[in-house]
């Protein structure tokens, strides 16, 4: 057990230390200004010393991200189920789902603030908009990939649409749904921070202030915290994947 854990954890840690050391050396050697690119040591010390500011900000952003992600999961799966019901519905409404993928969140963030007000409501809206499409797209792909023979089997025994959805399509699509949520998680963090640039609060506000004050090391430290949030979400989804799919080794062709 510990050997496996070491094999997974050590390589990225070593890589991180090596790259950081290289960057530190290069930045010092070439005298790169701290306002352009702060040295890893400066970023690390800012991340530590400013923790009293960064941790509450992280918590604020994390709350908005979780709510936004929960919304995009629920709405996304629901929308995909609706889109998968008939070809007509899919053809009519799928293009509008794509809208969520392409809308530039930076441009509409001010609108979100006008509609939802400053603070968490606008931030949650931004996180939701940006993370919705991957959930829809992946869930839909999963629902539409159900083996037609299995669908026939369900039809043979007179299963209702609801029963087919609950007992066949939804469990079948679960790996796809989790993939979609994993992608959505990273996007939700981005969306939330962009939302915070306009709506205020959280890590986004810290970044804005730090840029203004020419504290580039704090900017990077805030970015580090944001990445940690994204990583934590990834890990959580991964864990959910492994727990639900524990006994389920999916083969793509033939045998299931």
């Amino acid at each position: 057990m510990t050997r496996v854990r070491a094999e997974i954890v050590l390589p990225p840690v070593i890589a991180l230390v090596a790259v950081a050391a290289l960057a530190e050396g290069a930045i010092r050697a070439f005298g790169v200004s701290p306002l352009v690119l702060p040295a890893p040591s400066a970023v690390a010390s800012a991340a530590f010393e400013r923790a009293p500011i960064l941790l509450p900000a992280l918590w604020t952003t994390a709350r908005s991200v979780l709510v936004g992600l929960a919304l995009s999961t629920i709405v996304g799966v629901g929308a995909a189920i609706a889109l998968a019901s008939t070809r007509w519905v899919e053809r009519a409404f799928y293009p509008y789902a794509i809208f969520f993928q392409t809308v530039p969140i930076v441009a509409i963030a001010p609108l979100l603030v006008i509609w939802f007000g400053y603070g968490p409501p606008a931030v949650v809206a931004a996180a939701f908009i940006v993370s919705l499409f991957p959930v829809i797209a992946n869930t839909l792909a999963g629902l539409q990939s159900v083996d037609p023979d299995l669908r026939d089997l369900f039809r043979l025994y007179g299963a209702s649409r609801l029963a087919t959805l609950r007992k066949l399509a939804f469990p079948w699509a679960l790996p796809n749904i989790l993939t979609g949520v994993r992608i959505a998680a990273g996007l939700a963090v981005i969306g939330a921070i962009v939302g915070e640039f306009v709506g205020g609060g959280g890590l986004g506000l810290v970044v804005l202030g730090a840029m203004r004050e020419q504290r580039t090391d704090l900017v990077f430290a805030a970015v580090l915290y944001a990445s940690a949030l994204g990583l934590a979400l990834f890990a959580a989804v991964d864990l959910a994947c492994r727990v639900t799919l524990r006994r389920w080794q999916r083969h793509d062709a033939g045998e299931r």
């Binding site: 299995l150 026939d152 369900f154 025994y157 007179g158 066949l168 006994r247 389920w248 045998e255």
Partner: protein, 272 residues
């Protein structure tokens, strides 16, 4: 129709369904190939309790015919009747279907997979669990009852699929090249087990295959279909003993029947 009629194994003879196909036509339209005539004027009468092999090359519409019989598809013209009823009418007749791939739900264990048809039909939990256990015992998988499909071999998965088809005590069993993906030894084993199950229950079996050996070994009657579109080229009662032991395969009568079937298939093999 099914709840409360779980009969003990020893005298389980649900009897078979009579199947009538009259001048059935089925045409498909695909973007790639245009108009495909899958079945053209197939007429077939199968009596209750018969074991019929449907033999033909790939793409000869055998699977389409099977699905028409199951009521999963409707003919464009002509009629399909199971005991004088349309297979798509409610209440649906008790049919078991076995695909080439076992198609088990990977998130359910063996018990969960086998009880699925009863679950979909609304049978309460205790009754369907009992029936499922019976069916699993019948295919010899008692020990694996709690395993997940990913923990089973190909042959075991197919047995589960068979158990699932039998759990509703069907009067008609349809199999679409079920053992084609398995190795020879497992295939021979399952052939024998299937034949025994049929003998025990007396249900009607329609077995699609493109293996003449398998057809000859399993069936009392072989229907040879031509290439696309599917038409009956030969409908022959096989001159073989009722008891089919594995030794049969080296019998002279067996070789003779094989030759007859081959001859019937040859023109079809030449055709596209």
């Amino acid at each position: 129709m099914l709840a409360g009629r779980m009969q003990p194994r020893s005298d389980a003879r649900p009897q078979g369904t009579r199947v009538r196909l009259s001048d059935v036509h089925r045409v498909f339209h695909s973007a790639a190939e245009g108009r495909i005539e899958a079945v053209a004027g197939a007429t077939l009468a199968i009596e209750a309790g018969e074991f019929v092999a449907l033999l033909g090359p790939s793409g000869s519409g055998k699977s389409t015919l099977l699905r028409l019989v199951a009521g999963l598809d409707r003919p464009d013209s002509g009629s399909v009747a199971l005991d004088e009823r349309d297979p798509t009418d409610a209440p649906r007749p008790a049919i078991g279907f076995v695909f080439q791939d076992a198609h088990l739900l990977p998130w359910r264990d063996v018990l969960g997979n086998v009880e699925l048809p009863l679950e979909l039909l609304g049978v309460p939990q205790e009754a369907r669990r009992d029936a499922a256990r019976d069916a699993i015992a019948r295919v010899g998988l008692d020990d694996a009852i709690r395993r997940a499909p990913s923990q089973l071999s190909g042959g075991m998965r197919m047995r589960v699929s068979l158990a699932r088809a039998l759990v509703i005590q069907p009067r008609l069993l349809l199999l679409d090249e079920p053992f084609a993906a398995l190795d020879e030894i497992t295939r021979a084993q399952l052939d024998e087990e299937l034949r025994r199950l049929w003998a025990d229950t007396g249900i009607t079996v329609l077995f699609v295959t493109h293996s003449t050996v398998e057809a000859a070994f399993l069936a009392e009657r072989a229907v040879v279909l031509t290439g696309r579109p599917a038409r009956v080229a030969l409908d022959r009662r096989l001159d073989l003993p009722v008891e089919r032991a594995s030794a049969l395969r080296s019998d002279a009568r067996f070789a003779h029947e094989l030759a007859v079937l081959h001859d019937a298939l040859r023109p079809a093999w030449g055709a596209p």
